[in-house]
């Protein structure tokens, strides 16, 4: 963490870190250093702050306290802390989805005129999937029913399963979740149950606690999936497009507006409004307006509108330090409060927009769906005003940027696969797996984290897996890392893909006539859009007559940081993915909990956590997981033994 070059592999980030040091500006890496050594008890998950008798902690080296004041042992404390993190993640993802559902309904009721149903076909497809008959109904009627069904997943009183779980996984998986009593019936209820069972004096059984956590994790999955579906209906299902990524996308001549956070309800409108307000920007002496993004708001508007991605989570401060960002508009999640102090060193206006997500000292433009355009105009005006105050002598924009091909929704991917197999598009991918042309699929997801070298884990593992013929899909800040590094271009295929993967991608590019060729890594969207990667897995599993736990498909979060990553990781394991995490989560304080999540989980769900901080070793373990599943599939096909054959 000390030397700058140990902090990141992103050339733009490194240039800005040097600049920061020169200018005496504080970054997340400096604050991380000031926090060292990180609390050993917290790091191991054996610190309990749940009741007011404590805080208690268990001595990890066995000499001091072995139990908390209430008598809770290490495994109860670790399990309770972990599932509370899952509940935090679930709350974040699902609230995001609920917000989109309410916006859709507000629009349908005529209260949000600035929105429209951008993708009625998606509304119809979702309706069919969840058992609503769309025939004879208008797009508005279908959308209303879908939005209400989504809200029912938050409010159902009966003990019936969440629609967005049962309608999106295989019957075998539904059965497994029912069997284990982890099927959520109500997203909010699952969160409340975790908070209840983990409070003082309720559940002390670590396995029982973990199962409760998995119920919340599945609720998180439902929240993610309905967020994706409803956002597609509202703003359109992404289609492949080209854009650029990394700090070099900031334009010194233009008003630079950065959208940051996760929920695209406002940022989508800001992009539209900015295009309408170019003249005002010109009147202020700018060459126009340049909207760029950070974190998942960036991914949302990149996927649908081709808005360039400035950077990913950990480097958010570095964008401000360019001195060229006139306004940074934030919604929710992953926004460092540190931005405010930093903005004070520049002309940059920090604008919060969500009533429950404010930062002291920032501008707050209260975003309301009913007057979305008006809010967006106010924000763009603020940015243009700020541009006039920009101190040109402070502007320092790194040149580094790369082309990125993004917009690979499942629908878009299937469209491409259809060029090889029109009847059954997914067969194109399944054939490549069955023929051994590709070894399997890896989903890269998750955050960036000061505990790891910025972007290094994402890129190292991507290179290793690509070299070993693994088909790569990516979301969130993992996708951001790859976009910035140029891994989402066809050039990367020639540079990094193994012979099988190269052959497959070239054949696919040729058959589909994809302009310029398909990329090495497929950008599937924001972190809620991990649901798209699950849809892909479920489709493959169904085609192979199996469940996700049987197919060669792994997930990796090399730099997980947020509680949301804990909930996504947990549902990924529950759905059957071997799931690598590149930073050690706070579970090592309990051998039992560690063994449950890394080993026992596989016996129950087929998925399990691989906790490995070394990217090269992690790559080897992921490849091993894929090979094992390929071997098992071949073996079970050759001699159908009990328990090896999927339904």
């Amino acid at each position: 963490m000390g030397r700058l070059e140990e902090r990141s592999v992103d050339p733009a980030a490194l240039e800005m870190l040097n600049h920061a040091e020169h200018e005496g500006l504080e970054t997340v890496w400096d604050r991380c250093r000031a926090q060292e050594p990180l609390c050993g008890f917290g790091n191991l998950g054996v610190c309990c702050r749940i009741c007011l008798q404590g805080p208690c902690r268990i001595d990890p080296f066995g000499e001091g306290a072995k139990r908390g004041i209430c008598g809770a042992t290490d495994y109860s404390i670790v399990a309770r802390n972990v599932i509370r993190a899952i509940a935090g993640g679930t709350a974040a993802h699902s609230d995001h989805g609920r917000h989109v559902a309410l916006t859709l309904l507000a629009h349908l009721d005529g209260h949000a005129p600035d929105y429209r149903i951008a993708d009625p076909a998606k509304a119809e497809a979702v309706a069919r999937r969840i058992g609503i008959d769309p025939s004879g109904k208008t797009a508005a009627e279908i959308t209303r029913e879908v939005a209400i069904a989504a809200l029912r997943d938050f409010s159902r009183l009966e003990e019936e399963p969440c629609t967005w779980v049962t309608s999106t996984v295989t019957p075998g998986m539904t059965e497994k979740f029912e069997e284990c009593a982890i099927m959520p019936s109500n997203i909010n209820g699952a969160i409340a149950e975790v908070m209840h069972r983990s409070t003082m004096g309720v559940d002390a059984d670590p396995v029982n606690l973990i199962f409760g956590g998995l119920k919340s994790a599945l609720a998180d999955y439902a929240g993610c999936h309905l967020s994706t579906d409803l956002t597609d209906i509202l703003f359109g299902t992404p289609r492949p497009l080209k854009s650029q990524a990394n700090l070099g996308v900031l334009d010194p001549a233009k008003v630079n507006i950065t959208v940051h956070g996760h929920i695209p309800l406002l940022s989508e409108i800001v992009v539209d409004v900015a295009r309408e307000m170019e003249d005002e920007a010109r009147a202020a002496g700018a060459a126009g307006i340049n909207v760029v993004g950070i974190c998942c708001t960036a991914n949302e508007v990149l996927m649908r509108k081709g808005v360039p991605l400035a950077t990913n989570f950990i480097a958010q401060e570095l964008a401000i330090m360019t001195g060229a960002v006139d306004a940074i508009i934030v919604d929710l999640q992953c926004i460092m409060p540190a931005l405010k102090t930093l903005c004070e060193c520049f002309h940059t206006k920090l604008i919060t927009t969500i009533p429950f997500s404010k930062i002291p000292g920032a501008y707050h433009v209260d975003f309301r769906e009913e007057r979305a355009k008006e809010s967006a105009r106010r924000i763009v005006k603020l940015a243009i005003e700020a541009f006039r105050e920009r101190d040109r002598s402070k502007v320092h924009i790194p040149q580094a940027k790369n082309e990125v091909i993004a917009g690979f929704s499942l629908e878009a991917m299937l469209g491409i696969f259809a060029s090889i197999n029109k009847e059954k598009p997914i067969r194109a991918l399944v054939d490549a797996i069955e023929d051994g042309e590709i070894r399997g699929i890896a989903l890269f997801a998750g955050c960036t984290n000061t505990k790891a070298k910025h972007d290094d884990g994402h890129l190292t593992i991507a290179r290793e897996l690509a070299k070993n013929d693994v088909f790569i899909v990516a979301t969130g800040c993992a996708a951001g890392a790859m976009a910035k590094a140029g891994y989402m271009t066809s050039g990367a295929v020639d540079e990094f893909a193994g012979p099988g993967l190269k052959r497959f991608l070239h054949r696919l590019s040729e058959a589909s006539g994809f302009e310029g060729g398909l990329p090495l890594a497929f950008h599937m969207g924001s972190c809620v859009d991990n649901s798209r990667a699950v849809d892909l897995a479920v489709m493959i599993a169904k085609e192979m007559g199996a469940d996700i736990c049987d197919i060669p498909y792994v997930a990796t979060a090399p730099e997980a940081m947020h509680e949301k990553a804990v909930s996504i990781g947990s549902w990924a394991v529950t759905l059957g993915f071997p799931t690598h995490v590149g930073v050690i989560p706070p579970v090592y304080g309990s051998t039992l909990v560690t063994e449950v999540v890394t080993k026992i989980a596989e016996d129950v769900f087929g998925g399990y956590f691989i906790l490995e901080t070394d990217p090269m070793k992690a790559s080897a373990k992921l490849i091993e997981a894929l090979d094992y599943r390929n071997w098992r599939r071949k073996y079970s096909a050759a001699s159908p033994a009990e328990g090896l054959v999927a339904e």
Partner: protein, 148 residues
């Protein structure tokens, strides 16, 4: 002579010194690996609380160390140059006379290896781990004469 000092008003009882001490005396020096080592690494400092004040208790490296007097095998020694009392574990026979005579209770018994366990002041480090890692800087290394 440099000594380790405790600023009582700064100690919040977080027990980071205990963790850092155990890690310094571990194989891996990494919290996520150390908890899997067997035998578990042992700390030589313990945070105590007396009359409402926290105090990270460790060996005071006495000038006239009773443990050195009491040692029957010549394992417990004083390094005169740096004012350090240390246990040469290769000579220690685990009789634990030192544990009996220490007025501060700063020496422990290592159950597994049958040797006396005490602060060695991290001889290979610039500063002892407890001092280096104290988040509130309650522990300091200073010349003895400078602090009254």
């Amino acid at each position: 002579m440099k000594e380790i000092f405790v600023r009582l008003s700064k100690c919040v009882g977080c027990r980071q010194c205990e963790i850092s001490c155990a890690l310094m005396h571990s194989e891996s020096h990494d919290i996520h690996r150390a908890v899997w080592e067997r035998p578990l690494p042992r700390q030589r400092v313990r945070v105590t609380r007396e009359a409402g004040e926290y105090f990270p208790l460790r060996c005071f490296h006495c000038e006239d160390a009773p443990c050195v007097e009491a040692c029957i095998s010549g394992a417990m020694r004083i390094d005169e140059d740096v004012g350090r009392v240390y246990n040469d574990t290769s000579r220690c026979v685990g009789c634990h006379m030192c544990v009996m005579v220490c007025p501060y209770g700063s020496i422990q018994i290592h159950e597994g290896e049958k040797v006396a366990l005490k602060c060695d002041r991290c001889p290979d480090e610039k500063e002892p781990a407890c001092v280096r890692d104290c988040p509130t800087r309650a522990l300091l290394v200073r010349e003895g004469a400078l602090i009254v």
